[in-house]
Amino acid sequence: MGKVRGKSGILQRMGPLVGLILIVFILSIVNSDFLTVGNIFNVLRQVSINALIAYGMTFVILTGGIDLSVGSIIALSSAFAAGMMATGTNSWLAIGVGVLSGTLMGTINGVVIARGKVAPFIATLATMTIFRGLTLVYTEGKPITGLPDSFGMIGRGYLFQIPMPVIWMLVAFGALYVVLKFTSFGRHVFALGGNEEATRLSGINTKRVKILVYSISGLLASLSGIILTSRLNSAQPTAGTSYELDAIAAVVLGGTSLSGGKGWIAGTLIGAMIIGILDNGLNLLNVSSFYQQVVKGGVILLAVLLDRSKGK
């Protein structure tokens, strides 16, 4: 029995990777522009925003929760940061405040969910609306511009020819991989998602773990918000709208179970890449953006159906 499970486990893990390789293979055949260094970095830069949000979402989904407010957290936390920069505050300080505010927003989600015992879907649906509303209030509905040039480095700069957003994406991946795999907090996240009651009775402070995963989600959302703001050289009040959907899609494509307890963060990175490459490839093939949505949705559905049939 154990061996059979192990095998299907590996299959489950290889599935997303095989899918990614397949898509890359097909696109590189049908379009010669696809597999160029320039385009690959371009894709990865686009992927990085979603990947960062999706990492945080992975923690949340592993506990059996969901975070719909990430898009709004992006908008509000970057508005805070940009607002400070535009009025002459030191960039690093402004970034710090922005990220801190995002983390705090996530913590509020966590407290409402863990202490208030509100279903995550409802709680974050409400805060999604609240944070978006606050963004519009704070920005008066207008973009914040006039950011210092040095700030552009974070989203538009390069390190050893590699776009900075890609570096952030990989550094965050490494850190979070270690947290999930090698720390007791990571183990608590899996245990909580698998069986909350057993975890609590094992003496683990499950409320604390729950609050922390939403804090992490808020932290990563605001980080990706900073990168987005830097790339656009402005903070848009509507930034991040519906980004939660791509993030959830990346997590699910990566093989993490929406019911919690099963999954891995490397899968999420692969899932985010599948979505990004699909977007890029369809653009290169001049597919209309209307059809792009149909194809993307179809791929997600197909992936989940394949996953289901494997479970039988």
Partner: protein
Amino acid sequence: MTDLLTMEGINKSFSGVKVLENVQFSLRQGEVHALMGENGAGKSTLMKILSGIYSKDAGSVQIQGTESVASSPKTAQGLGVAIIHQELNMIPDLSILENMFLGREFKWGRTGFVNWPRMRSEAKNYLQQLGMDLNPDSLVGELSVGQQQMVEIAKALSMHAKILVLDEPTAALTKREIEKLFQLIATLKTQGVGMIYISHRMEEIFQISDRITVLRDGRYIGTRDTNVTTMDELVQMMVGREIKERFPKVETNIGEERLRVEALAQAGKLYDINFSVRAGEILGIAGLMGSGRSELAKALFGVGKYQGKIYVNGKLVRINSPADAIKAGMALITEDRKGEGLVSDLSVRENLALPNLRSLSRLGFIGHRMEQDFVGDSIKKLNVKVHHSGQLVSSLSGGNQQKVVIGKWLATQPKVLILDEPTRGVDIGAKREIYDLMNQLVQKGVAIVMISSELPEVLGMSDRVLVMHEGRITGEFSRENATQETIMVAATGGKSHG
């Protein structure tokens, strides 16, 4: 007269592993035939072949003399075979009659509209046949587990079942409900229904069955008439060796007080609970389902708010969470292994480590080597049968899962160990290992509080017995004075002290 059911030479393999080999079984009309064997002996596989869930590789199944192949649960129903599963299969938000006729509702002609009056009168009819005074319109979720089971049996009868398989029917029933079930079984016997009775509880099997068949490791060991066999013979048939005593109680030196509870109360659940346990002592807590035993265990472990005082090792402690309880030196092994004891998506290793991560980690990082050593030790010490520690805990047998639950707690080195139904759903061999383990622990000076619904176990293993009823302690007996009768009197609310 031919038998109602004859199964002969049944073989079944799963991916090359033989789980049934040349097994035979027969059932007469109006007979209760008990099927016994340790977990994994092949009882449920045999029953799944009978009920069309699995197909047999070889052998013959004859129902009333004709070869009958149930290729699906639906065809099995047509052949008159019904199984009452251990976990009941009813929809709590539907009424009794909706459940009874689910998927085969009576209609008005061919209209598709449900003929409620006819269904209601039929349902009433079957319920009355079983002597049950239930309103067919009440929701199943509002019934007790025992009543739900009766409704399932009524449902089976409404499908004209001739062969009824009862899989651990009494596991979740109170004493009174069990008596009611046994009356019902007697009624069904007179109606000529043949019943296959699967249970781990010896006393019941001797009370209710006519014949007993034992399987071991997928093989047929033998069939005995109940009135000529003995428990010892059956145990020997089941485990293939002689188990000298079922309850290997050892004498220990009873030392200082480990746990004392004063005027413990929890609104609506527990009232004025006072007791203490000493080092080296096993305190048994008996009582019916819903008497507050598990609530007491949970309250001691920081689940829910309580009034009153809890002393551990003579020190007053305040326990607001399981973490506090663990810190104070307590461990709780809950009755609900799947729901509260284990995380089934995690491996044996991860489950064993769960409450011990603090001591296995440095600065929040889990020490890989430390964890491996710890897990290897635990597996060896408790004799858990695993291929490797990375195996999912849900792939183990009930007894081995229970050993994992116990193992994860022993490493916290508790002074007070609370065991809630420690041997439920565990086969005889593993039961004995769990008793031996309890003995080792009390010899080391651990105090054990053992909650159990199996009176023989309570009587066999406890130094002292408390009895609970409706959230209160209604009796306390020394080992010498405790009997099934005195305990039952206290458990049903009659006051008595021994």
